[in-house]
Symmetry: C2
Subunit: 204 residues, 2 copies
Amino acid sequence: MSHMRYRRLMAVDREHVLRSAAALLTRKSTATMDEVAKAAGISRATLHRQFAGRDALVRALEALGIAECEAALAAARTDEGSATDAVRRLVAEIEPHAGLLAFLYTENQLFEGEEQNEGWTRIDESVSALFRRGQSNGEFRIDLTPAWLTEALFGLLASAAWAVAEGRVAPKDFTHMTVELLIGGVRRPEEPALPEAPAARKES
Amino acid sequence: MSHMRYRRLMAVDREHVLRSAAALLTRKSTATMDEVAKAAGISRATLHRQFAGRDALVRALEALGIAECEAALAAARTDEGSATDAVRRLVAEIEPHAGLLAFLYTENQLFEGEEQNEGWTRIDESVSALFRRGQSNGEFRIDLTPAWLTEALFGLLASAAWAVAEGRVAPKDFTHMTVELLIGGVRRPEEPALPEAPAARKES
DNA sequence: CCCTAGTGAGACATCAATGTCTCACATGCG
DNA sequence: CGCATGTGAGACATTGATGTCTCACTAGGG
């Protein structure tokens, strides 16, 4: 935005185009280049000037998703405090971009080739490291591999994004539901012989 | 299979075609009708005689997935015993078909229309009922809605199918990882003041 | 005020997947 | 041994998305 003034004329805001495309493709992953252009408020010609083709657009979205994941990882400071809280922060940071993630998740075209973006590898390793840390310090169970926990985290994020988009869960519950299921599972926490037990954490 | 002999000539086994298509599309969801035909060992013409088009094929796969889910629900007897064990049985029953489920999951074309197959609705309700039962009898926490838990279950199944297909987790761990994460979450179960605590359930 | 860069609109060719058709062939049946 | 049925192979047209190009227009800079 801020650098827009430096461009001559009403140059297309590449960032805005990407956001629009992400929002549209999240809802309709088969959307046409024409639809993407209209959603961004530009013509197909201009869209094609920015992104050489649908493939280039998807790649750009992938890069955007990777950048946002890495930004979220940095902002969540996953190496500070308890691993549990770090996971909470991480999910909260990623939440706004879960829609894009869900879209990329289904774009298996990105993964079936040999040359899959190394960015995902780095992200996977960062998240895995977080789970490994939690296992090392006794917060997390050790019978679930960090690789699986990482997969599950992104899977739950995508599921939550879908569920919200479909109106099956309230958007405000996104983080809570994702994080709480991942952290604590569905089982009701056992109450160690307390006659009066708090049913569940009331905090919304 | 058994009724094959009743067909004249080497009539195409519709069931076999569906299975092949499911297996292929699970790996490469953009596979061409020609590829699907080759994978099933038949010609494109014959494939097209069985399924009027790609759309019809996907619909048939959807029906197959629904049927398998309902069969799994029935076999798991989700209304017997503890809800926790019922979830375990359900995941174990669905596991063999998780690949197909994962494919259908990404085929959002199936859901964006207005007329989405009511079979999914019935399945959702059955699974939701199971979670609701677990909440009613105190096994499950009540701050996560049954709708979300249902979404999460299928999301985790799809994630696990992907992770196995990509070789990130061992196929034999599928059920355990899915079920244990869903049931217990990632947090290590608290050990109520036992000096010598079993680290984690050893049972594989 | 003129010039230039960037845009929108549309025409046009291309390309891949698909739907449709024909025809030869094989196999089981009578 | 013919016949009928279902199949494989391929040709062909269609369709929809895409890539490419031209051209007029507009808005800002000099």
